[in-house]
Symmetry: C2
Subunit: 382 residues, 2 copies
């Protein structure tokens, strides 16, 4: 029998509501505009779009990002930014250049489960810091740091998603942002900020990034085009202290292979210069807002026993079912009945039993999400 190689990760089955995927809707991807941007880039940059890219990344894209970020967030020097292959690549490279096997790093509990997989590949000792509805509990972080210090340990960094969190959707409160940055600065703790959902605020723009409010060198911020444009472009950026950014730029990997993912970078540069990024993200915010609202309203209606905070942005709703519910057990039943979600335990290092689950609202239109909520309620109530 011949094996068929899949083209993409995403595989949806008709009639099955799969709310597990943290992926943008393929139907909303700017296929025609990316093709147009490619034509523009090939004309404008010619063979420079196909050569070994500059080590920090393709100049035109760096220039566009530098201007945008300097205007919106914080003035940026040219050596404080570099292109990455998206946030997974950025985190992998940061782990590579800032840690050694056996080192300690901190994450939130719950946190993005696949970031944990990347950190585990680097054989790091990963310690969870609890969160609540306002995000990371800064007091708990301080306690953990103190305990670690007594044990003679200094964590290499804290990986955190303060904005439209995955999986909870929570925004770290303004006060906690300032507190976190203050603790990190005092304790010489590097914060690795996953800022992938920044463009996707549905009620208001995203709060200021930790990077933008922290002293230089406290935060290394990872931004990405994966959610705001298209994940297959595999393009993102980091901003931080020059010495931190250049540690990654000056790697053997880039000296040998040049900047990351160069063709996609010049295509995105053309896309952005033409104003298509603003149009695209505006459209996405409108569409995903409808979907978030539809799923939130339907869950409230169909599952009155559940509690959840309607997220201000991002991709996910974190639903708490009544105490005693085991969402991993529930999930097996759900799958049989044509609906799927990720059970909360997936987002905790210890894989604990929880009454929580994560649903993504990005892949289905509002009317389908309403049906999905109804089906979920049937499973919960059966």
């Amino acid at each position: 029998m011949t094996h068929t190689f899949p083209t993409v990760q995403l595989a949806l089955k008709p009639g099955f509501y799969d709310l597990t995927w943290g992926q943008p809707d393929p139907k909303l991807m700017p296929v025609a505009d990316i093709q147009r941007a490619t034509e523009i880039a090939m004309k404008k940059y010619g063979a420079d779009s196909l050569g070994y890219g500059a080590d920090a990344g393709a100049g035109p894209l760096l220039q566009w990002l530098l201007e945008r970020i300097s205007e919106r967030e914080r003035p940026l020097e040219h050596d404080q930014i570099a292109i990455t292959g998206g946030n997974s690549d950025a985190l992998d490279q940061i782990a590579m250049h800032f840690t050694e096997p056996g080192d300690t790093v901190l994450v939130e509990a719950p946190t993005y489960h696949l970031a944990v997989k990347i950190l585990r590949d680097h054989q790091l000792d990963i310690i969870p810091i609890p969160t609540d509805e306002e995000g990371l509990r800064v007091n708990a972080l301080q306690e953990t740091l103190t305990e670690l210090k007594h044990a003679g340990k200094h964590p290499k960094f804290l990986y955190t998603i303060p904005t439209f969190h995955n999986p909870t959707g929570a925004n770290l409160s303004e006060a906690r942002r300032r507190g976190l940055v203050k603790v990190a600065a005092a304790e010489h703790l590097l914060i690795v900020e996953d800022d992938v959902y920044r463009e996707l605020g549905y009620d208001a723009p995203a709060p200021p990034s930790l990077w933008s409010i922290a002293p230089d060198g406290v935060v290394l911020r990872m931004g990405s085009f994966a959610k705001s444009l298209a994940p297959g472009l595999r393009l993102g950026w980091i901003t931080g202290k020059a010495e931190h950014v250049q540690r990654i730029v000056n790697s053997g990997l880039r000296d040998s292979g040049g900047g990351v993912n160069h063709l996609a970078a010049v295509v995105i540069a053309a896309f952005c210069q033409e104003g298509m990024f603003e149009t695209q993200t505006q459209m996405l915010r409108a569409k995903y807002k409808e979907r978030r609202d539809a799923l939130s309203d339907a869950l409230a209606l169909e599952l009155p026993q559940a509690s959840f905070a309607k997220p201000g942005g991002g991709f996910f709703i974190w639903v708490n079912l009544p105490d005693g519910t085991d969402t991993q057990v529930l999930r097996a039943r759900a799958q049989e009945q044509g609906i799927d979600f990720l059970h909360g335990g997936r987002f905790f290092l210890d894989g604990r039993t929880t009454n929580s689950l994560r649903v993504a609202f990005t892949l289905y239109p509002p009317e389908e999400l309403q049906k999905a909520a109804k089906r979920l309620a049937q499973v919960v109530n059966s």
Copy 2:
């Protein structure tokens, strides 16, 4: 003053012959064809060209590679191949998943200096194995392995460039290929084969890869489109034992971010399916053969005191000047007189003084290479 971000690594100065760069000629890059391939890919794959790529890489490109490699080299199962971000990325990921800091790895002396930089980033203990005009000295490898065994050490892999070597241009002889594979199999030594110049044989096709003649699991072979198509695409592949290949595919990096460099991969798939890869490599072979011949002939004419083996393929000529010449000292004088090369010491771990130098013949047309040889001779003779 405003800083300008460069777009690419390559920066040539008019009137200066820079033979240091191991890069393909931008003037020979298939800009129009890549644009055409993008149009075809966007039509054919639509939003699948922009989604998270399958973890092993974009299916259509894997399929094309599998068929081509199975036909030309060795039958290949679907789980024995994966897409990479070029050979620098492949080597970085292999070092990541097959070694820990402090582990021992082996390289050739001389070897590709930036591969060494990647291995050093992984904090590996790197041991050189001498080469001669037939390539890696297999007897010397056997001796080193025996010594290491007595010291209780087992190297995690041997990094080697058996085909159109960088920097020497040498091909590992047929007998040595068989000998190397035999020793590696007997000693449980993983060979990491850098096969980046495979398509660029100018007198005859490249000899069989080590991977194609070795028992399953002995060789992990890294192939790339960087030299045969365009480096900015940042696309390559690995072939090897399923368990070895899947160790990289199953990483947190790919689980989270999907297949490497997905957009470029579907564009190359379209490019290759349309037959443009064969046309492009045929053209490159014709052009680079002329350049290799022009530089070889001119060096023989202008520098009769030098000795070198005319390479059968690849990018480089390795020139030995008379004993006692220090090519690092020579290089400083050469730069002042408008010509540059890499001195041999760059390709040895200990940075030793050598009478050798590496010149690349890919970036200039024949008549310019003749002038470059003349200028080099002036520097040597002055």
